[in-house]
């Protein structure tokens, strides 16, 4: 519940882009759902053959965390590449401006 409220507040302050916000909202809703309907965890655990059902939650969180970190690495790489291109274009443009303004 607190997570959902926090995420909502971040979106309100425009600190979070909607695409990320959606993910965090979904995550908080799932957590909320699990705390209301605890038996669901046991059902999932039995389905995939895990004896101790809380470990399913742990596993899920690790997997989600892993993919999230991966996603951020990819985004960062793309951003730094774009940043490099922008800096290069800026240097070239600055040269042209200096040349034209004598």
């Amino acid at each position: 519940m607190a997570v959902a409220a926090f995420v909502f507040e971040l979106i309100r302050r425009r600190k979070l882009r909607e695409e990320y916000a959606l993910f965090w909202l979904a995550a908080s809703l799932i957590l909320l759902g699990l705390s209301f309907w605890r038996r669901s965890l046991d059902i999932v655990a039995r389905l995939i053959g895990v004896a101790y059902s809380p470990s399913v939650l742990l596993l899920a969180m690790i997997v989600v965390g892993f993919f999230l970190a991966m996603h951020y690495s990819i985004s960062l790489s793309r951003l730094s590449e774009q940043n490099k291109r922008l800096a290069q274009e800026l240097a070239l443009l600055k040269y042209e401006v200096d040349r034209l303004s004598g």
Partner: protein
């Protein structure tokens, strides 16, 4: 017709050397242009270069040597230079070695030439032991990946023709790119050759590469080389950023796409 020649001099805090380097180049090649790419220097590198008669591109932040050279290649590509020569700002490279370096390009025997310190018997370059080991590993990797022997993969004394310039301006790697550029060029069926050249030992200042960093770079470059090699061989995607070179673009079905006007 003599080819239009551009010297690309990447410089980071080289105010002591860059002026002499520019003077030396312009004295030897009065018709050529020298562009100094100031990679976010804290000293007066840009002023010194401009005073010596170079064109100066100032990067707003430090992007690393790879990106700095690429900026120069972008400049060469957009201003239609026939040959781009990469030349160090620290005074290690010699202007009198340039004719030997660019000869294979002028004769159209290849697209990219690497100046090697280790090919000529006379004045053989004395590198430190770790540097030798690193170089040997990179050379061996290159040899294994490309089935072609390079003796000085890390050399920053090199020359590119228009096609190679356009290719590298579009996709040059970020840092310490020299060995990687060879793999990328070879994989895209560019003709890469080594030529023996002489070098000076460095003047003022010291190498920007320390031991720990060079080990890190080694692994990074090795990984990048392997990645390049694992991509399928293909004809060069000459993604020139020069609008006059649109016909060179091959990726994505021909550069600019027009929206088809569909009438309902």
């Amino acid at each position: 017709m003599t080819p239009r020649l551009l010297f690309i001099v990447p410089a980071l805090n080289e105010e002591a050397n860059v002026g002499n380097v520019v003077h030396e180049l312009l004295a030897a090649f009065p018709d050529a242009n020298v562009v100094v790419v100031d990679d976010g220097s804290a000293d007066r590198t840009a002023t010194a270069a401009a005073a010596a008669g170079a064109l100066v591109l100032r990067l707003p932040t430090n992007l690393g040597i790879g990106a700095a050279v690429q900026t120069g290649l972008l400049f060469a590509d957009r201003h239609d230079y026939d040959i781009a020569v990469q030349f160090d700002a620290d005074g290690q490279h010699r202007a009198d070695q340039v004719p030997a370096l660019i000869a294979p390009l002028i004769e159209d025997r290849c697209d990219a030439v690497i100046g090697s310190r280790f090919l000529l018997r006379e004045g053989r370059y004395n590198a430190s032991v770790p540097r030798r080991i690193g170089n040997a590993i990179l050379n061996t990797t290159n040899a294994l990946l490309l089935r072609k022997r390079f003796t000085d993969s890390t050399s920053g004394f090199r020359a590119y023709n228009r096609r190679a310039t356009a290719f590298l301006a579009g996709s040059y790697a970020h840092d310490y790119p020299e060995p990687e550029a060879i793999v990328a060029l070879e994989r895209h069926r560019f003709r890469v050759e080594e030529v023996g050249i002489l070098m000076r030992s460095r003047e003022a200042g010291r190498s920007s590469i320390t031991l720990i960093r060079s080990v890190y770079y080694m692994f990074k470059v090795l990984l990048a080389m392997l990645v390049h090699a694992s991509r399928p061989k293909r004809k060069g995607q000459h993604e020139s950023t020069n609008p006059n070179h649109l016909h060179h673009r091959q990726r994505g079905g021909g550069g600019i796409r027009f929206r088809a006007d569909t009438t309902p």
